[in-house]
């Protein structure tokens, strides 16, 4: 079992549902990132995914897309992201994972990237454009360092597919709540219940649910169904509109 899964399982003994939040490194700036993370941790977030910006974020919706592109166009470099991440993991003691696209790893060197992340004390990776068929080396390298190559389930995934994904994954499973990209609302309906049931039956890993989770109502709905609620676009919007200070109260309001 990866350290990440252990940490999450431990937390789940205390809380009915965990919260994972998201931010894009360097957007709107590392200073704001730092403040946002502080607010998140202080208000009980259990895990944070730090997105390393990429110029072609195909799986992301307009909000996160814009954050990626602005971060890059303001000159943010991968090295800065890694150094910032090291600083953060040293300061805050919850699990941090990297979310990014495969080219960032590929260009850096997959093993070198994983080693660097390991040194920084990153617990896992979400790489939405890297299916296990293409990511064998990555999966093996991450697992060999006891890090989590987090896999993604989608509503379109069959049970067989989920089982294969789960075998390749570790830490937890990121269950995409619906079709589409990040940032749009999700209707949690009967289809969703069937989907989550399918996810459960395919793996013993904790299940995180993301895409379109915005409110206490959403989190409450997931409570008992999933293990982790993922807040993505919503905090970016909040920071854009009201500044970093608004993040704390928002997180506090979710549980």
């Amino acid at each position: 079992m990866t350290t990440l899964e252990e940490t999450l399982r431990e937390a789940l003994t205390r809380k009915k549902i965990l919260l994972m939040t998201h931010l894009v490194l360097g957007y709107p700036s590392f200073e704001v990132n730092r403040e946002v993370i502080r607010q998140m941790v202080k208000n009980g977030v259990d895990m944070i995914e730090m997105q390393i910006p990429f110029s072609e974020p195909v799986a992301d919706g307009p909000m996160i897309l814009k954050a990626n592109q602005e971060s890059i166009s303001r000159g943010v470099k991968l090295e800065q992201c890694l150094e910032f991440a090291a600083e953060i993991t040293a300061e805050f003691h919850i699990p941090f994972i990297f979310m990014t696209y495969y080219n960032i790893l590929y260009k850096y060197g997959i093993e070198a990237f994983i080693d660097r992340a390991y040194d920084i004390n990153i617990q896992g990776f979400i790489i939405p454009d890297l299916p296990p068929e293409e990511g064998k080396e990555y999966v093996e390298l991450a697992k060999s360092r006891n890090m989590a190559p987090i896999q993604i389930f989608a509503p379109t995934s069959t049970k067989e597919r989920m089982q294969l994904l789960a075998q390749n994954g570790a830490g937890f499973i990121y269950c995409v709540a619906r079709r589409g990209v990040t940032g749009k609302k999700t209707d949690f309906d009967q289809d969703f219940n069937e989907y989550i049931a399918r996810c459960r039956s395919a793996t013993n890993l904790p299940l995180a649910v993301g895409f379109g989770i915005r409110s206490k109502k959403d989190v409450d709905f997931l409570s008992g169904r999933a293990d982790i609620a993922v807040i993505g676009t919503e905090t970016i919007r909040l920071v854009d509109e009201k500044g970093a200070e608004a993040v704390g109260p928002f997180i506090a309001s979710l549980r």
């Binding site: 195909v58 080219n103 260009k107 454009d129 509503p155 589409g180």
Partner: protein, 412 residues
């Protein structure tokens, strides 16, 4: 260790999980179609009755004489319905969509040609159609936007990133991951995740099959070299496939040299030294990217070549030395265009004119007992705004200014 969809170590299918089943289905239908001779029959029938296949191979006697070397032949993809080789791919995918029972198609477009072709196909097959087009390209290729809309398509200008082809592709993917149940993404070039490179290459192979037969008939022997411009690489792959087995035939891909290979403002992946291996838009190839793996802004006078990546099949053929790559600058392109119009009465698309540049450079060094073939991927009519601009044509400017005055007065 050759996986499906790989060419050497290029290609693959780097797709989000949500599309896994969609691609599985697409692969199944595509394999089925490939193995069903009646599908290709239907395809040929469609292309010969709706478009103008086989497209001719024109002997360019005047430029041949002008350069005094090899005999220059031009494969006339410009005479396809909608004016470019894009029709080949799009009509093929249209037949596949019909088989799959989907009712909506989406596409990215750079030069607008693929968008027009897709909108045309959608009208013909009765599909709903949305076209994503970088805002900069919407500006560069306005007439194409007009026709797409007139054929019933919705054109969405993409304002992200560099506002060109790559961003349109991203946006099309975003649509697809939302609507994959109803929708097929008609990728416009021989790039993207498997099976697209294989599929597009297959449909475009019709160019090379015809061209090989035609040159043998017209010249009684194989050409010394075959030239094609390379954006994503579909027209090049189309014609090259006809000659891949003929080792004596040199294959030359011509990329967008923009303002020069050392200017940083170009779109040369394989001809220059600015590209490096990467993975984006679902596949692995040589990309124009920085050391972090961020894609660079590219530049070309030809919207259809203005792209960061290149067909994984071509990256493989390049690596193996089977296809040679060169680049043509914007300025060289305008010169070749001018010469071709004046000497042959033929107007190549700005994209296609890149192939002409290199052919013209090399023709004089070949013998008069040799022939070369240029793939003219499309016609230049669509580029009137760009070409008139580039030539700074004063009467065109005057015309546009007068028209604008008229429109302004209409409004008041």
């Amino acid at each position: 260790m050759i996986k499906k969809g790989y060419y050497g170590h290029w290609g693959g299918a780097f797709i989000p999980e949500i599309l896994f089943e969609t691609f599985k289905e697409l692969n199944v239908y595509f394999e089925e179609a490939k193995n069903d001779p009646s599908f290709w029959e239907e395809y040929l029938q469609l292309m010969s009755s709706y478009s103008c296949r086989p497209t001719p191979l024109t002997y360019a006697g005047n430029v041949s004489k002008h350069f005094g070397g090899a005999h220059i032949y031009i494969k006339r993809e410009d005479l396809n319905h909608t004016g470019a080789h894009k029709a080949n791919n799009v009509m093929g995918q249209g037949l596949l969509v019909k088989r799959m029972g989907k009712k909506r198609v989406i596409a990215e477009t750079g030069a607008g040609q693929h968008g027009v072709a897709t909108a045309t196909m959608a009208a013909k097959f009765g599909f709903d159609c949305t076209i994503y087009m970088g805002e900069e390209d919407v500006q560069r290729q306005r007439p194409n936007v007009f026709w797409m809309e007139k054929m019933g398509a919705t054109v969405v200008p993409v304002t992200d990133g560099s506002k060109t082809l790559k961003d349109a592709i991203n946006e099309a993917f975003r649509d697809w991951v939302t609507n994959m149940d109803s929708t097929h993404y008609v990728l416009g070039t021989v790039c993207g995740p498997h099976p697209f490179p294989e599929m597009v290459a297959w449909f475009q192979s019709i160019i090379g099959i015809e061209a090989r037969e035609q040159i043998l008939k017209a010249f009684t022997k194989l050409p010394t070299r075959v030239y094609a411009c390379v954006g994503g690489g579909s027209n090049a792959m189309g014609i090259f496939q006809g000659f891949l087995q003929d080792e004596q035939v040199g294959l030359v891909g011509v990329e967008a040299g923009g303002k020069g290979l050392s200017s940083g403002e170009h779109a040369s992946r394989l001809a220059g030294s600015d590209a490096s291996p990467g993975v984006a838009q679902g596949y692995k190839t040589m990309f124009l990217q920085d050391s972090d793996g961020q894609m660079l802004d590219t530049h070309s006078v030809a919207a259809g070549l203005d792209y960061i990546g290149v067909s994984p099949i071509l990256s493989d053929l390049w690596e193996k030395g089977r296809v040679r790559f060169t680049a043509a600058t914007d300025i060289e392109v305008m010169e070749a265009l001018d010469l071709t119009m004046k000497k042959e009465g033929i107007i190549p698309a700005l994209e296609s004119a890149h192939g002409f540049v290199q052919a013209f450079k090399e023709a004089p060094d070949l013998g008069t007992e040799e022939a070369i073939v240029i793939n003219m991927s499309g016609r230049g009519d669509k580029d009137i705004f760009t070409i008139a601009n580039a030539y700074g044509d004063p009467s065109w400017k005057k015309f546009i200014i007068e028209r604008a005055e008229q429109y302004k007065n209409d409004k008041e």
